[in-house]
Every structure is written in structure tokens, then in C-alpha cells.
Amino acid sequence: MPKPRLLNRDEDSLPLERELLVRMHDLMVKARVLEERLIQMYKQGHGYFWIGGPGEEAFNVPLGLLMKKGQGPAYDYLHAHYRQSATMMALGEEPIGALRQMKNVAADPYSGGRNFAGHFSKREWNIAPVSSPIEVQYVMAPGTALAQKRHGGDGITIVTGGDAGTAEGDFASCLVWSSRPGNELPLLIIVTNNKWGISTPAAGQHGETHVADRGKAFNIRTKTIDGNDPINAYLELKEAMEYVRKERKPFLMEALVSRLYGHSSASGANFVGNEQDCLAAFEERLEKQGILTRKEMDELRNRYTEDMAAMARQVREEPLPAPETIWNHIFAERK
């Protein structure tokens, strides 16, 4: 694999404004601490299942920062999967919502205590509901993208999912539906490749050199990038999004990322030492370049840790949904 264009930039001065770097770092820390809190809640019995995205912050934070946030086809749609708390934080979401979903309390803003952790949904920001079946989001994304193409403007649809899931037919459907000549769709198709299914390594899953190569057969512009470097991810995403916004055509991006706590609570949710930690690597660079000191970064982390511990205590006291609420929202009512 040729070296991605923007790798190893740390020799140079960092190619983004200081303010943006500090903001990205802040959000990465916030998202990491949130996930660690969720894992802890799970382990303490304050939730039934954990799945989330520690290790993917370097990619997911820039994604959230670059999205055009709002409701309706003029804005970007995100058809996410369950590892995207960092994207939600970058969009401006408050972490307490994720804690409430973990504890499945009535105030869970995403599902009212009905769905797993990491299963976000927020219509106000075009965040399509995350659902557990792998890869289904890839067949829905062309729908919002078609509405956007018709609507005009520069809103795009973004869909993300894992590498193992690309074996599902829905991934192929996405390539087919987004690239029909004359009917190309403004769709940024993202695969975050952490090199694992649950316990099945990438080599046991598929034979193509890069997942992104599959786009080539459909004349879709493609790229495999290092998703563990937030600066690289930011610049690559910006370029890809500009292309999709302007050309109204699909782009397939494969981002190589880490899976720092294994697949989910189903595989223990313990820290995996041999994966690259994007946050630690970024902090080293920030320190070396004099952007932030170790002390500042430690203080930030401690502050978030305390904040979220307090939130978790608060959430523990909140009521579960009333049993009769099972009957709510089976159908939408015309208001």
C-alpha cells in the first residue's frame, strides 16, 4: 500500500490551526472518557451491554466537525453505526444522553430506554437511527442522498460501518445504487476498518487488498486513509466531502482505525494493548509541538472524568420507563 499522502506529517509543523487542534483534542478526550465511563457502568451492572468507539476518535471527531449540521435535505445526513459517540460529541451532543441510554432510563434521548448504548438517533440533526443489524444503513443512505440530490444545495449523506460488514449484500447495494450513470448520488460511503469482525480477523473475511478498491469497479472515487491520525483524517475527510458536495457523486473512503476495547462487552470490553491508541499518539505530537502541555491534557481528562462520574451517579437515580410506555410510538400521530 502506498503511503497515504498525509502520513508522517509530525516532522513538520502541524497543518491545522492551533484552535482546531485543541478543539479536536478536547473532543477526543471527551469521547474517550465517555466510552470509558460507559464501560465502567456496564461492569458495575448499570447497563446490560456496551458497544462503542474508543479507538476511533481520531476519525470520528473530524467527521462530526465537518458535517453540515441541521434538519432536512439541505443539511448532511449521517447513517451511522454503533461506534460513533465521538462524532456525536463533535456535533455538540451532551454525553449524559449516552449515559442515559446505557442505563436505559426513561430520559434516554435516543430511544426512551429501548435500545442499546451507541444506538444514537437525532432527527433534529439528521442522525438516522442506528440499528443493530450490520450494514442495513448502507441501503438506506442512497434514499436520503437521492432526496438531497433532488433538493439541490450542497447537503450530502454520509454512511459509516465496519469492515466485516462489507460482506453483506447491502454494501454492494450501496455501491450499485449510488453510482448509476446519470443518477450518481451525493454519498460519502465510509468503512472504518478496524481489521476485525467480532473475533474474526480481516484476513479470514475478505480477499480484496483494500475494501476501498471495491468502489473502483463502479467508477466511484476511492481512498484508503489512516484514520488514527486526526489531522490526516480531517484533511482527507474535508477533501472527500468537498468532492461529494460539489460533484454530487459518491466517494468511498476506507479509514484504518483501532479497536481499543475489543468488540463490545460481549468480548470483555478490556483495553487491548497492542492496538495503536490514536489519542495517546496525538497527545504526544501536541506536546512535542508545544500546542498543549502534559499537565493541561491531564487536567482536561480529569475534569471530564469527574464530570461524567457525577453524571453517571445522577443517571443511576433516574426512573426507568413506565411499563405501559411499551404502547407508545408504535405509530406516529399526525400533529
Binding site: H79, N115, L146, G169, H329, A332
Partner: protein
């Protein structure tokens, strides 16, 4: 009078013009064919999709999320099975998101036997569809209802499954669709695509009127006092005919067309069964775990002491498919004679 395919087409035209329908799509749904049953001919928002059922349902969900109003077609219900998890998601999206998202989408698909469609073009979908909460499910048995139910479906803000009994698609109605011309030949000239080159053809739509059959309301198509027959889709006209024939033998059967399978008109069924004390449910889906079994269960639980005879279900045989040979198809799903004898025997059954 219009046939059901024409009625669906006219309703969709009305919906494009008046109800905000943005996309009518599926395999071969757009020009030049306009659907393998011609139900989408000449519609201005009709387009051909890739041959990908999961893609079709996914596209409809995405369009609905973005505020469009799609009508997606699965060419035959037999091919909807590989989208079952997507149908489940469409049905649970509102609930799963605690009311944050709703999906105003319609999925239409031809169901059932009657065109000698063999193993993969004859299956019903009512039992499976009614097993997926969050959907409204309608199934017309005549062109006027087909028109009115499609209009209601297009007005819905929830997912609606519109099942088209394919055996009835070519049968003319007994009632005129509001706005339909008096002359059938004229109607055909106006809205049926010509054979051969259609590139220049444009339909000439009649001045159609709003006419909605409310979702959730059944209809008594024949009043009677002795036995209640509840059906829908292809078997409904057979039940009506059976009841008319049996009147000569002194059997007075009431026939109810459910029209909507979910949410269904229990009050109508209940009132009738309380009156007659006998009920026969008729449909052509396979009989094991059949929607009619649910109706039988409810009848037993709620109306047991009103019954003069056990409630009965006449449904398709639990066999893996419908064989092509006439004899095989006839033996697999209820036919006119089966229905007549079932009503006759139920009417004469004594406690």
C-alpha cells in the same frame, strides 16, 4: 369500469398530483413497461430501480427519512422475503427512536395465486406482514377499494404495506371510481399504454376526485343472519359469490371484507359474530400460523359464549409452494367450491 391495475394507477396519479408522492419505483416500474402488471404505467414519478429488493426497501426508508413520499414496489411478494429485516426496521423505527422518526412510505406488492404463477409467483404475504408491528397493512378486493386504499396509504405518515391480489388485478369493478369516464374503452384509450413504441406516449388522465377508504375499516359486502364469513383479497369475491349461491339453499351468510389487516376492524367482525354465532375466516396464505388463526383465537377468547359452532379457518394448504399444474394450484388454495361447502357445513352445524 376500471380494473384494479387501472385503479391503482389512477390513485397513484392522484397521489403524485395531490398528496406529495415523489417516487414510484421498483423493478420495471417506470417506462416503458410501467410494472409487470401495468399498475404504474404513465406515472410521472415512476422509475426503474436496480434488480435489488433490499435496495428498493432501503431506498424507500431513506427517502421517507428525508421527507419524501415514496411508493416502492416489490415485483412479486415472493421476493420480499429477502428484505424482511428491513421491513422490521421500517416498522420499528418510530418506536425504537421513541417517536423521533416516522417513515411515511408505501410498499406495494402483488400477492397470492390465480395467475398460474407456480412456486415463486403465487405466495401470499398476509401472515408474514401481520407479524411485523409498526406497519399498516391493506389489501383491496375490488378496484374502487384499491383506489381508495391507495389514496389513504399515500396520506399516511407511517409505513403502509399495500398488498395487491394479483388474481383480481384485471377484473373490472362494479362501482365507478370518482372521476372515471363512463366508457371503459375510452378509459383504456386514455390511460393504457399502447403496444409497441411508447416513447411518445403520454397518458390522458381523467379528472379524478379524492376518495379515500379509511385504513382500519372493514365493510359488510353482503348482509346475512346465519353465518359470518370474513375474508379479504382474492378469496373475498369467491365468498360473496358462495353466499349469494347459498341463499338459494336457504343459507343466509353475512360477508365481511376486512380491507385492512392492521389495524383491523374487530368491532365489525365482533358485531357480526355476536349476531350470527358462526364464523368462517377465509384466506389463501398457508394455514399454519395464519393470520386467520389469530382471528380464530380472538373469537374464541372474546366471543366463546356467543358461538353456536366452533370458528373455522379455510386457508391455503401448508405445502412449500403452489405447483404449476392447474390441479395442483386448485388443490393448494381455497377455490369457489371449497368456500361454498365450508359455509354450508358451518351453517348447518348444531351444538
Amino acid at each position: 369500469m376500471a380494473n384494479m391495475a387501472q385503479a391503482v394507477r389512477m390513485a397513484l396519479h392522484y397521489a403524485e398530483e395531490n398528496l406529495g408522492v415523489t417516487d414510484i419505483f421498483g423493478e420495471d416500474v417506470g417506462a416503458p413497461l410501467g410494472g409487470v402488471f401495468t399498475a404504474t404505467q404513465g406515472l410521472k414519478t415512476a422509475w426503474n430501480s436496480p434488480l435489488d429488493e433490499r435496495g428498493i426497501i432501503g431506498m424507500a426508508i431513506g427517502l421517507a427519512m428525508a421527507g419524501s413520499k415514496p411508493v416502492a414496489e416489490i415485483q412479486f411478494a415472493d421476493y420480499i422475503y429477502n428484505t424482511i429485516d428491513l421491513l422490521k426496521i421500517a416498522g420499528n423505527t418510530c418506536w425504537a427512536t421513541h417517536g423521533d422518526w416516522n417513515l411515511p412510505m408505501v410498499v406495494k406488492t402483488p400477492v397470492g395465486s390465480g395467475i398460474r404463477g407456480s412456486i415463486y409467483h403465487s405466495h401470499s404475504f398476509d401472515a408474514t406482514a401481520t407479524h411485523i408491528p409498526g406497519w399498516k397493512i391493506v389489501i383491496p378486493s375490488n378496484p374502487l377499494d384499491a383506489y381508495g386504499l391507495m389514496i389513504s396509504a399515500c396520506q399516511e405518515i407511517n409505513p403502509v404495506m399495500y398488498l395487491e391480489p394479483k388474481a383480481l388485478l384485471r377484473i373490472k369493478g362494479e362501482e365507478r371510481i370518482p372521476g372515471e369516464p363512463e366508457d371503459d374503452k375510452l378509459l383504456s384509450k386514455m390511460i393504457d399504454a399502447p403496444l409497441g413504441d411508447r416513447t411518445q406516449w403520454k397518458p390522458q388522465w381523467p379528472q379524478l376526485e379524492a376518495y379515500a377508504v379509511p385504513i382500519g375499516k372493514g365493510k359488510v359486502v353482503r348482509a346475512g343472519a346465519q353465518v359470518t364469513v370474513v375474508s379479504y383479497g382474492r378469496t373475498l369475491p369467491l365468498c360473496k359469490k358462495a353466499a349469494d349461491d347459498l341463499a338459494n339453499e336457504g343459507v343466509d351468510a353475512e360477508v365481511i371484507d376486512m380491507r385492512t389487516l392492521w389495524p383491523y376492524d374487530w368491532e365489525l367482525i365482533k358485531g357480526s359474530v355476536e349476531k350470527t354465532g358462526r364464523v368462517l375466516y377465509v384466506n389463501e396464505d398457508t394455514e399454519v400460523t395464519n393470520f386467520g388463526e389469530h382471528l380464530v383465537r380472538r373469537t374464541v377468547e372474546e366471543l366463546f359464549y356467543k358461538l353456536m359452532a366452533p370458528p373455522r379457518l379455510l386457508a391455503g394448504k401448508f405445502v412449500p409452494g403452489i405447483g404449476l399444474a392447474d390441479t395442483l394450484e386448485m388443490a393448494s388454495v381455497p377455490q369457489q367450491g371449497d368456500i361454498t361447502s365450508a359455509i354450508r357445513s358451518l351453517a348447518s352445524e348444531q351444538p
